[in-house]
């Protein structure tokens, strides 16, 4: 590989790492700052990606996609003929909106109840989204997938150097989201989130509507994830339901946040680069190390180890997470005084 090839590879790597960083930021809003347990990231990933893809792709070629009746650039259906590039931005917004809406529905149902229900529900959402796009061929061509997703500003540069442009686009979006999330969690609103994470009962006692704050955090994080999905769609430019398996669309992102440190946005981005670096780097290794099953095993071991040793994350345990739980079989009674 010549030096140009190496740089091309690194650019491709950086794009994926930054897209993952966007997801890690979204997950940080859920878990790191509010303590919400989302194990269905893949669902928001897929929703964001498909929303963006369906809004911007050219309409299906009837000769090839008999079942594929929906989709295609709305402009081509005579609506809002703004061109592909404007639709890219609208697609990002729509992806965020769709994910936010789904999060609003699921959150409204589950967040009033025990925290555990949210995590089970997110798992259900992820699987249901997958089933939907797999079975409903009319919506997005089923398992054959969408593969004419356009580039943003594709006319500006030559196809072979397009990644050099897109890496900047992703960087800008990621930085904007980073700034937005950072601003949100540093605000009084964010302080309430952290208070909920540390001690929900006390926060509720101080007159805060815990449910509303949790719901807002869940929606915000899911919207960030939706934008990540949209960025992903325009990068790989091919989507099939099989793209969004739990390993690459949920578990890897958890590993990133765990490594980077929950409750730390810079750490989340760093974690995305480190984990994706290890992931991408090890695929050149011989034998078992590049075996996907072995990586799955290692991610599991990594998560358990971090939970046992440093629940705040490997790199960035900036603030100790005060842990609390109801009286349990072996724990001493943690209830408040008298």
């Amino acid at each position: 590989m010549d030096i140009g090839g190496v740089i091309d590879y690194l650019i491709g790597f950086a794009i994926m790492a930054m897209i993952y960083a966007v997801f890690a930021l979204g997950l940080n809003v859920h878990w790191g700052f509010t303590g919400l347990f989302n194990i269905g990231i893949a669902g928001f990933f897929a929703l964001g990606a498909y929303t963006a893809a369906l809004l911007t792709s050219p309409p299906p070629d009837p000769d090839q996609f008999e079942d594929f009746i929906f989709g295609g650039n709305l402009a081509n259906h005579g609506l809002l003929d703004l061109g592909v590039d404007a639709w890219f931005l609208l697609g990002l917004a729509a992806a965020a909106l769709v994910c936010g809406l789904v999060a609003l529905i699921i959150g409204t149902i589950t967040l009033r109840l025990n925290d555990d229900y949210l995590s089970i529900a997110t798992l259900g959402i992820a699987e249901s989204v997958r089933f939907f796009f797999l079975n409903e061929k009319w919506a997005a061509n089923g398992s054959k997938g969408l593969y004419r997703i356009p580039k943003f500003l594709g006319d500006v540069v030559a196809p072979e150097s397009y990644d050099y442009l897109y890496v900047v686009v992703v960087l800008v979006v990621m930085l904007i989201l980073f700034a937005a999330v950072q601003r949100a969690v540093r605000s009084p609103w964010g302080r309430v989130l952290r208070a909920i994470r540390e001690d929900e009962v006390a926060t509720a006692a101080s007159g805060k509507n815990v449910f509303h704050f949790k719901l807002q955090a869940f929606v915000l994080g899911s919207m960030v994830m939706g934008i990540g999905g949209a960025l992903f769609a325009h990068h790989v430019r091919f989507l099939s339901p099989l793209t969004f398996d739990p390993l690459l669309a949920t578990f890897v992102i958890w590993a990133m946040l765990m490594v980077g440190g929950s409750g730390n946005n810079l750490g989340a981005i760093l974690g995305a680069f480190v984990v994706w670096g290890v992931w991408a780097g090890t695929q050149f290794l011989p034998g078992v190390l590049s075996d996907p099953s072995f990586r799955l095993l290692m991610i599991g071991v990594l998560i358990v180890t971090i939970m046992l040793l440093r629940p705040g994350g490997l790199l960035g345990e900036w603030r100790r997470i005060v842990e609390r739980r109801p009286a349990s079989v072996a724990g001493r009674d943690p209830a408040g005084p008298d």
């Binding site: 249901s128 578990f251 099953s293 599991g300 998560i303 358990v304 046992l308």
Partner: protein, 351 residues
């Protein structure tokens, strides 16, 4: 929930008393709701394929074995165990290892035992797999969850750790047995034909009968043995159990042992019913498992049993109208419906 039953004890007939002992108290509201549901079912009966109900009960038996263990762990350890489905898969694969790799070396082979597709080796492997997974679940508790409890870690941390365990088990299974489809040695068999176009595969009958036996065993254990009562007490009120002198460590071990063993059996039976093993089979089963647990009320094993049958039948019946691959989504929809209408499950959350 507990104060609703205001009927004097002497009015309670034997059947009601029996239901009450199962934790299924009958209030007038509940009876009328059940009646309404029954009438609705009767009204739909002409449009329902009875064969699907039978399939649903078989699937429900498998869900029940997994869900009872899951709900016991949930109630007693306050842990929604995301690895429970993968304990099932592990059980199925351990049995596969015994059937495929160990027993043939000592000359035990075969398929198509009597009316069943599987052979004698599966019957040998079934209890062995149950023991292996039970011990594995206890070992994992000792290695991981015990430490987290000692630290008084939050439920979210416990669940996160169980997610890590789930991922690791699946990776391990995939690493050892590959991600390819496997199956126990089998011979095809005739299904039983009953009137009204009902077909029962003999394997399904085996699954249902074994499930009934095991559920009865769990019931006896929880109702009549000292450790069973201690488990229910711990689930009810952990602090009071502690100051009653209950050795909660032993309760925890028994809970994991029972949960792990039932999960392993459920995994083997699932592999028999589906006629295949896949590393992801357990993970995909999580949503029906949790749906059954939530439907029955967290911590209530009898509720989980009923919930499992409802979920199983609904999943199978849905295929009459919608694409069969939506079956898990049906379980999810039931779960969301329950969370909306009766978040504590249809029977409350008591053991």
């Amino acid at each position: 929930m507990h104060s609703v039953s205001s009927q004097p004890q002497n009015l309670a007939g034997p059947s009601r008393r029996y239901l009450r002992r199962l934790g299924l108290r009958m209030s007038p509201g509940r009876i009328s709701a059940l009646l309404a549901a029954g009438l609705l079912t009767l009204g739909f009966l002409p449009f329902i394929k009875l064969g699907l109900v039978v399939n649903g009960l078989i699937l429900g038996s498998v869900i029940a074995l997994g869900a009872i263990g899951l709900t016991l762990v949930y109630g007693i350890l306050k842990l929604g165990n995301f690895a429970h489905g993968d304990y099932m898969a592990l059980g199925a694969y351990v049995a596969f290892f015994i059937v495929d790799g160990v027993l043939p070396r000592v000359g035990i082979e075969g398929a198509g035992l009597g009316p069943f597709t599987f052979g004698f080796p599966v019957l040998i492997a079934l209890p062995l797999a149950a023991v292996v997974v039970a011990l594995g679940a206890i070992a994992l508790d000792w290695l991981i969850y015990r430490r987290l409890r000692d630290r008084a870690a939050s439920t979210a941390i416990l669940m996160m750790a169980s997610l890590g365990v789930a991922i690791a088990i699946r990776g391990l299974v995939q690493l050892i047995w590959s991600g390819e489809t496997q199956h126990y040695p089998r011979e095809s068999r005739q299904v039983y034909h009953l009137p009204m176009d009902v077909r029962i595969p003999p394997d399904g009958l085996f699954v249902a009968v074994l499930a009934v036996i095991l559920v009865a065993g769990v019931y006896a254990l929880l109702t009549y043995t000292k450790i069973g009562k201690a488990m229910r007490a711990t689930s009810d009120n952990p602090t009071l159990a502690l100051v009653s002198g209950i050795n909660t460590g032993r309760v925890v071990w028994w809970t994991w042992g029972i949960g792990g063993a039932l999960a392993a059996v459920a995994g083997v039976l699932l592999a028999v019913v589906q006629a295949q093993l896949l590393p992801i089979m357990g993970w995909k089963f999580l949503i029906p498992l949790f749906a059954a647990v939530i439907l029955g009320g967290i911590g209530n094993p009898y509720g989980a049993l009923i919930g499992a049958l409802i979920v199983g039948v609904s999943m199978e019946l849905s295929t009459q109208w919608i694409n069969p691959s939506y079956k898990p989504a049906v379980a999810f929809a039931i779960m969301i419906g329950v969370l909306l209408a009766r978040p504590r499950g249809i029977f409350g959350d008591a053991l």
